[in-house]
């Protein structure tokens, strides 16, 4: 199962749970699983970027998730 790591700003939604292991084939499925467990995370997830196995995605959707994937949510970045 993929390892999902939540940022500090998510911990109040997850009851302090920082890591969660979740089966998912792609990013969309992963988000749906997270929101099923913590419905209030929908909006923060929509506003976040995500790093899947080290690659940062500002707008992930169907990116594949492997059983050994590491998924980190993080603030969106743009720049000047």
């Amino acid at each position: 199962m993929a390892k999902v790591v939540f940022p500090d700003s998510f911990l109040s939604f997850t009851g302090g749970e920082r890591e969660w292991h979740c089966p998912a084939e792609n990013y969309r499925d992963l988000v749906q699983a997270i929101v099923r467990r913590w419905p209030d995370l929908q909006e923060p997830l929509d506003k976040s970027a995500v790093a899947i196995d080290g690659n940062i995605y500002q707008d992930a959707f169907l990116e594949p998730i492997n059983p050994d994937s590491e998924v980190f949510f993080m603030s969106r970045i743009e720049g000047g």
């Binding site: 790591v5 940022p7 500090d8 700003s9 109040s12 939604f13 209030d40 506003k47 790093a51 196995d53 080290g54 690659n55 940062i56 995605y57 500002q58 707008d59 992930a60 990116e63 590491e70 980190f72 949510f73 993080m74 603030s75 970045i77 743009e78 720049g79 000047g80």
Partner: protein
């Protein structure tokens, strides 16, 4: 890996395609467009930093001969919510109130009304005829004091954004935090601990071209806007939303641009010009003066940072704990999150915490500025590391090498780094002749690291093959740093033709597909990826046309050096077909040859840097001379090396200016006292040595040519590089920027 390939076009530094127009004055910037029957718009700005607007009377202005229209906040629709992209973007509702104040003015220079008139003189006379009744309020100017529970509130409706709404309103808009490991354990393992407070002032991007636009609306509510912008598609969307218009009714054309650095990613004049043009039934030109640019457009945040870092005697960082307050200006949206995500990024640190605050003050709303937030936070941490290196009697490069992040290091913001070039930058610095040279007598040498994530985002490109085989690239990323040349080089490389056969044009919002802003060091990476894919589309089409010509299957055709040839083993007695020959015969094989691509580019590669400088401080005058400056940065692959060097040199020049002299100086009423280049001292050529550069190339595996963005990182390291050099030069740790002559003299006298 891309770096193993010998490129024929990429890596050259040909003359820039826009160069002749720019040096001869033919290039048209934002203020250069003149249309028949064009009139002029001007903005009335608040004389108060904080006040309630009780009444605005436009009647006298409207009654003047030559005045076509006058508008104030009441003429605008109410816009709420909606995130605006980019650091400092904030919400659409805030952008609306920043473009034109509604019930309160929140900084000195905030727009309260605007007029259009046949001449600039009449427009300015009309502004003087507008009567505004204010109820002045105490300005909130100090970022730390603004965080106190009993502070005057900039916005009585601002509640700190937390999962549960707080009971009381506050000037703190947002809080960000990163934590890992066990701080107590980390500090217990340290042999030394450095603890300091650092200040970085609010500073402006200092782009040479002030904001300018021309709006030309017709009677049906449709029209065109010509403006200097980093992103005309996003300006179109913002303007349409602020005015309640359909974006399809607005065509935005990006002019040549005299610098942006993040400051031209949000609208200021454009919605006003559109509204004035509609009301006037004339084209309306609006330009800002330099003073307006300083007072009313977004600088970057001033910060107060408290840093505590623990290290072992061998230089290993055992723990780091930081607290940072960012000035947001009048509306929420300081770059606090990218700031704290950058702060420790170059290093492997097991135990850390950092907390940052996005704080409202009665100053201009901040906007993005190269690597938003990173220069401020990394100034603090890199200065603390320099002090640690002195305490441990270590070379500052060696201290950084001991802790350097590498491929597989878990970044402080979460993921493990893919291949990165930070260690390569440090090792290059150690071998650099400028570092081997002895420090000049009486001087100090400073070292610091820089970092930026870089981004991809959305881009589109079309490639049209002309009848003679030359190629026209059309894309939608305004060219700020030479991207047209980079696009030509990537197109030429992909197609196998010469650079000189390719032209690139930045299309308007009606002539090419959507592109996000030119910012975040994304254009060469993402739009370059779109151009490369569009060229691959052209190659596929060329192979198809060749197969038709030769009467063979498409898979029996290969593309090599700009020529269609039979694949190895194909038994066909045919003559290779060049791009020119295929294009010349296109009418018979299916019509014009064109390729297209649109994408949301992912996999932008982080770019790291090491800078070092020698400076000497005149102890009588406090003036600092920068004797030498060296910038080393990982570019992934330098498509046009001279432009990459230009980005590194430009960022260094801006960072040196910020470190030594640049700052917003406000009086007690919140009025900026130095709103002009005579008093807001950016570096001029005589202030700077030649900035030596060394490009490191650790290819980004996510880009077809290995590109990383290069435009953001160069401004990150210079603040600490200069501060560390000055501190070593005078033998005292100087923590607050700018290190201007009066500030240095005050420190030396202290």
């Amino acid at each position: 890996m891309a770096e193993a390939i010998e490129y024929k076009q990429i890596g050259r530094s040909p003359v820039r395609p826009d160069g002749v127009d720019k040096v001869t004055g033919r290039a048209r910037f934002g203020a250069d467009l003149v249309l028949p029957n064009m009139i002029h718009g001007r903005v009335l700005r608040s004389p108060h930093a904080h006040a309630r607007i009780k009444h605005i009377d436009l009647s006298d202005a409207l009654a003047m001969d030559g005045v076509y229209a006058a508008i104030s906040g009441k003429d605008f629709i109410n816009v709420e919510g909606g995130e605006v992209g980019g650091e400092g973007g904030g919400t659409l509702g805030d952008v609306a109130k920043n473009v034109m104040a509604r019930d309160k003015v929140l900084y000195h220079g905030h727009a309260v009304a605007a007029v259009s008139a046949s001449t600039i003189a009449i427009a300015e006379a009309a502004l003087a005829a507008i009567k505004v009744e204010y109820e002045p309020l105490p300005p909130v100017l100090d970022v730390v004091a603004a965080m106190a529970e009993d502070s005057v509130l900039v916005d009585e409706n601002n509640y700190t954004k937390l999962p549960e709404k707080p009971d009381n309103a506050s000037n703190i808009a947002n809080v960000g935090k990163l934590v890992r490991g066990d701080l107590e354990e980390g500090f217990a393992a340290a042999d030394i601990v450095i603890e300091r407070e650092y200040k970085v002032p609010m500073a402006h991007q200092g782009y040479i071209e002030p904001h300018a636009c021309v709006a030309n609306m017709d009677e049906t509510g449709r029209g065109s806007v010509w403006c200097c912008t980093q992103g005309h598609f996003e300006f179109r969307a913002m303007t349409a939303k602020l005015l309640g218009k359909d974006m399809a009714d607005l065509k935005f054309i990006a002019s040549e641009i005299g610098g942006g650095f993040g400051g031209k990613t949000v609208v200021y004049l454009e919605p006003l010009a559109v509204m004035l043009s509609e009301k006037s039934n004339r084209p309306v030109k609006m330009t800002m003066s330099r003073e307006e640019v300083f007072r009313a457009t977004g600088p970057t945040s001033g910060t107060v940072a408290r840093v505590k870092v623990g290290l072992k005697n061998d230089g290993t960082i055992t723990a780091a704990d930081s607290w940072i307050a960012f000035e947001a200006g009048a509306f929420a949206g300081a770059p606090h999150m990218p700031g704290i995500m950058s702060m420790y990024a170059p290093y492997t640190i097991e135990n850390f915490a950092v907390e940052a605050f996005d704080v409202l003050v009665n100053k201009p709303k901040v906007a993005a500025y190269r690597a938003p937030g990173a220069p401020q936070t990394m100034h603090a941490f890199e200065c603390a590391l320099d002090e640690a290196a002195i305490a441990l009697d270590m070379d500052p490069l060696d201290l950084r090498l001991v802790n350097a992040a590498d491929e597989g290091t878990q970044a402080p913001y979460g993921p493990k780094f893919p291949p990165i070039g930070f260690k390569a930058c440090i090792e290059a610095a150690k071998k650099h002749p400028n570092y081997s040279a002895p420090v000049p007598e009486g001087a100090g040498r400073g070292v610091a690291a820089g970092f930026w994530f870089n981004v991809g985002m959305q881009s589109s490109a079309e490639v049209n093959v002309n009848e003679n085989g030359t190629v026209m690239v059309i894309e939608g990323s305004p060219d700020i740093g030479g991207s047209r040349a980079s696009m030509c080089l990537m197109a030429a490389e992909t197609l196998g033709i010469e650079y000189e056969q390719v032209r690139t044009q930045v299309g308007d919002t009606e002539s090419t597909g959507f592109c996000n802003v030119t910012g975040g060091s994304r254009t060469t990476f993402a739009t370059g990826m779109a151009v490369t894919q569009a060229c691959e589309d052209v190659i596929a089409e060329c192979k198809k046309r060749a197969s038709m010509t030769w009467g063979v299957d498409e898979d029996q055709v290969e593309w090599q050096d700009g020529v269609a040839i039979p694949a190895p083993g194909v038994n066909a007695d045919v003559k290779p077909l060049s791009l020119a020959e295929l294009a010349g015969n296109a009418a018979k094989t299916g019509g014009p040859i064109q390729g297209r691509a649109s994408l949301n580019a992912q996999g932008a590669g982080a770019s790291f840097s090491i800078n070092f400088a020698d400076v000497r401080v005149d102890r009588e005058t406090g003036k600092t001379d920068v004797l030498s400056y060296t910038a080393i940065q990982d570019a992934g692959k330098a498509i046009h090396p001279a432009y990459v060097e230009g980005q590194m040199q430009g960022g260094a020049a801006q960072g040196i200016g910020w470190a030594l002299n640049e700052e917003y100086i406000f009086d007690e009423q919140g009025v900026m006292e130095n709103a002009g280049f005579l008093d807001y001292r950016i570096p001029v050529a005589s202030d700077l040595p030649m900035i030596d550069t060394q490009i490191i190339e650790v290819a980004n595996p996510s880009h077809p040519y290995g590109v990383r963005g290069v435009g953001e990182t160069p401004i990150v390291a210079p603040l600490a590089t200069i501060a560390n050099a000055v501190s070593r030069s005078v033998g005292k740790r100087l923590c607050d920027l700018p290190l201007s002559p009066p500030n240095i003299l005050a420190e030396l006298d202290d």
